[in-house]
């Protein structure tokens, strides 16, 4: 007889417990739970079933759930379009696009198709799909395996977009995405998959999508960030703390829905704003955050700063990458100058 106090109300048998998990294991737990508790879910993509995923994230799920977890041909349009169609007819597909760069060969399904289903039918038909993908640079990766395209998706009304950066968020946000009745793109990061394990609370109530989180308190400057680059931001914040500057780090987590209140409250406290993302600065989502803060009329002590990738394709050589992508040193330097009131215009932005 299981201990009934471990079963949360309403959840079909997923015990509340805390486990030490890697980010990849946390995703695996979320997928297993979704497949168990929501019989209408399907999980498919390239190499996800029998091989258990090229990063091992979907290991064991095909064995447990059989045909609801399957391998597809290398056909991203069929994967995403198939997800849209199945969702219109009552399934709740979780589709994997192995690298966000590959979503581009099937962007039509995510831009012209999925978000229109509910809108045009005025809710008569919906397409609750979850697209799991992963983005960002890793050592040696080429220009077609390194991009951060969250702004593409965030620009499309009707698509929800989240970027988990901790193991707990990898679990929570994926479940929120699957439970959500909108098309949701969850952008993971492969450099986080097999990092250090952390305590992950499993089995709790699945929350709605949305909500930013303060990762570090500080009164001198607010850094709004998301995704894996956040770890560089936290390191840079520690560097500054040693110099007597306290940075508050706000993890946006979801770009859509955007927790503007959390951003406004944080910036109102510190009156200085920096946005850091790994994606290109020009036309990036940081521009949206800065604009929204500007429109809020908050009285800032200094002009806001954006720190992101300089305009270039992403080179493969490890020595070239710091010439393009944000580094801990560039972030620390940008924050330092912001606090000192120096102009920090990133020369790379407008090149």
């Amino acid at each position: 007889m299981p201990d009934l106090t471990l079963l949360p109300a309403g959840a079909a048998g997923t015990a509340i417990e805390t486990k030490r998990l890697s980010y990849a294991e946390a995703v695996n737990h979320a997928l297993r739970r979704a497949l168990r508790e929501r019989p209408e879910t399907l999980l498919f993509g390239e190499d996800v079933a029998k091989p258990g995923g090229v990063f091992g994230v979907t290991k064991g799920l095909h064995r447990e759930f059989g045909d609801r977890v399957f391998d597809t041909p290398i056909s991203e349009s069929a994967i995403l379009g198939g997800a849209v169609g199945a969702a219109m007819f009552g399934r709740r597909p979780i589709a994997e696009i192995m690298w966000i760069d590959f979503s581009l060969v099937a962007l039509d399904q995510l831009v012209n198709q999925a978000p229109n289903v509910r809108y045009v039918s005025r809710g008569a038909v919906t397409a609750p799909i979850t697209v799991r993908t992963q983005a960002g640079n890793g050592p040696g990766a080429c220009a077609q395996h390194s991009q951060n395209l969250e702004a593409f998706f965030a620009h499309v009304p009707g698509l929800r977009v989240g970027m988990p950066s901790t193991a707990q968020d990898a679990y929570d946000m994926l479940l929120s995405a699957v439970w959500c009745d909108d098309p949701v793109v969850v952008i993971e990061n492969r450099t986080l998959y097999h990092g250090a394990k952390s305590d992950v609370r499993l089995g709790g109530e699945v929350g709605p999508i949305g909500g930013a989180r303060v990762r570090r308190g500080g009164s001198d400057v607010t850094v709004v960030t998301w995704g894996a680059v956040q770890n560089l931001v936290l390191d840079a914040a520690e560097e500054l703390a040693a110099e007597g500057v306290e940075a508050e780090v706000l993890d946006l987590r979801w770009l859509n829905p955007l927790d503007l209140t959390a951003v406004q409250e944080a910036v109102a406290r510190t009156r200085r704003l920096a946005v850091v993302h790994e994606a290109h600065t020009f036309g990036g989502f940081g521009a949206e955050v800065v604009s929204l803060v500007a429109e809020s009329g908050l009285d800032l002590l200094a002009p806001p700063v954006r720190i992101g990738a300089a305009p270039a394709r992403i080179p493969s050589a490890v020595s070239l990458v710091p010439g393009v992508l944000p580094t801990r040193a560039k972030i620390a330097d940008g924050l330092r100058r912001l606090v000192r009131g120096e102009t920090v215009r990133d020369a790379g932005v407008l090149r």
Partner: protein, 319 residues
């Protein structure tokens, strides 16, 4: 018709060079000198050496995939420039911008690897489209794997080339796997060359572990395309004798599969054939040691050259 012994000895040496370079890359990657995902082509050398033997690299254009080291070497890219590229050195073929999976060597007729499955096929059709207007007589080669045949871009490229009668040869490197998934889980008809007829172009299958057979089949396709006969699809049946990437434990391969692939690999097979044709063991050994020396020297040269300079990372984005 069978090729003469000197031609076969040339194939032998070029295949050995590719194998030697890949083995050295595996060593450098395992030692940590190289980083990231690297896809070796060991076992598939006959496809590259055979296909390139049928080309005129002064005007033809090859568009391979991320598994492109063999194509590059067959096209004549110096091994030191390839090593340096993957090591991220200034002397790399693209100064470290491309890396293992996305370098380009246009000087050698090798117009770029592609790390987006299937994306090279329409571009190859475009190179052939240009040929229809520039009088060059160029033939474009789109090379891709068995799995890429399930990508929409490849079908669009084949139909586009067929309807315009473009001089493209679609070379399918059928190694029976797409990453970690076997071909049986990907398509119902394992005879991939049959897809050609759906687009009204000729298609054929060849033993992709026999460089001579590949070269002769390729010559037919190239001659036809150059003469205005339009595109063709050539399926080369082969196997990789290594993982999809360095570090791939290949647990998805059934028992005996890898052993069979190793037994059928093209270099040992060609050595046997050459021996049967009367080439002395000493002559083959001399080639082996010449290639080994070349690989060793090239690797050392690349390792000795400086890393690419981050201050140059923003150059060459716009005209």
């Amino acid at each position: 018709m069978r090729s003469d012994t000197p031609t076969l000895l040339g194939h032998f040496e070029r295949m050995l060079l590719i194998r030697g370079v890949e083995d050295e890359i595996a060593r450098l990657r395992t030692a940590g000198d190289m980083v990231g995902s690297i896809h070796l082509c060991s076992g598939q050398e006959a496809v590259y050496v055979g296909a390139v033997a049928a080309l005129d690299l002064s005007r033809d254009a090859v568009f391979p995939t991320y598994r492109g080291h063999g194509w590059a070497l067959a096209c004549g890219v110096p091994p030191e420039a390839l090593f340096a590229e993957i090591l991220g050195r200034v002397t790399g073929i693209n100064g470290g911008r491309g890396g293992s999976a996305y370098f380009t060597a246009p000087r050698y007729g090798m117009y770029g690897e592609n790390s987006i499955v299937g994306a090279g096929a329409p571009i190859a059709a475009g190179a052939a489209l240009a040929a229809a207007f520039d009088g060059s007589g160029r033939v474009a080669v789109a090379a891709f794997g068995d799995g890429a045949l399930n990508q929409g871009a490849v079908h669009e490229a084949m139909n586009f080339a067929a309807v315009r009668g473009l001089p493209v040869v679609f070379v399918v490197e059928n190694n029976a796997y797409s990453e970690l998934t076997p071909i049986a889980d990907m398509t119902r008809n394992p005879e991939l060359f049959r897809r050609a007829s759906a687009y009204g172009m000729p298609g054929g299958r060849v033993d992709g572990n026999d460089p001579d057979a590949v070269a002769r089949a390729m010559e037919t396709c190239v001659r036809r395309a150059r003469g205005g006969g339009g595109p063709a699809l050539l399926e080369c049946v082969t196997q990789r004798i290594v993982g999809h990437y360095i570090g791939d434990a290949q647990r998805y391969r059934p028992a005996g599969d890898l052993d069979r692939a190793v037994a059928a690999e093209p270099i040992g097979r060609l050595a046997e054939r050459l021996t049967a044709e009367g080439v002395a063991a000493g002559e083959l050994d001399a080639i082996r040691s010449r290639v080994a020396d070349r690989v060793r020297a090239a690797s050392r040269l690349a390792l000795d050259s400086p890393p690419a300079d981050p201050a140059t990372a923003l150059e060459h984005l716009y005209a």
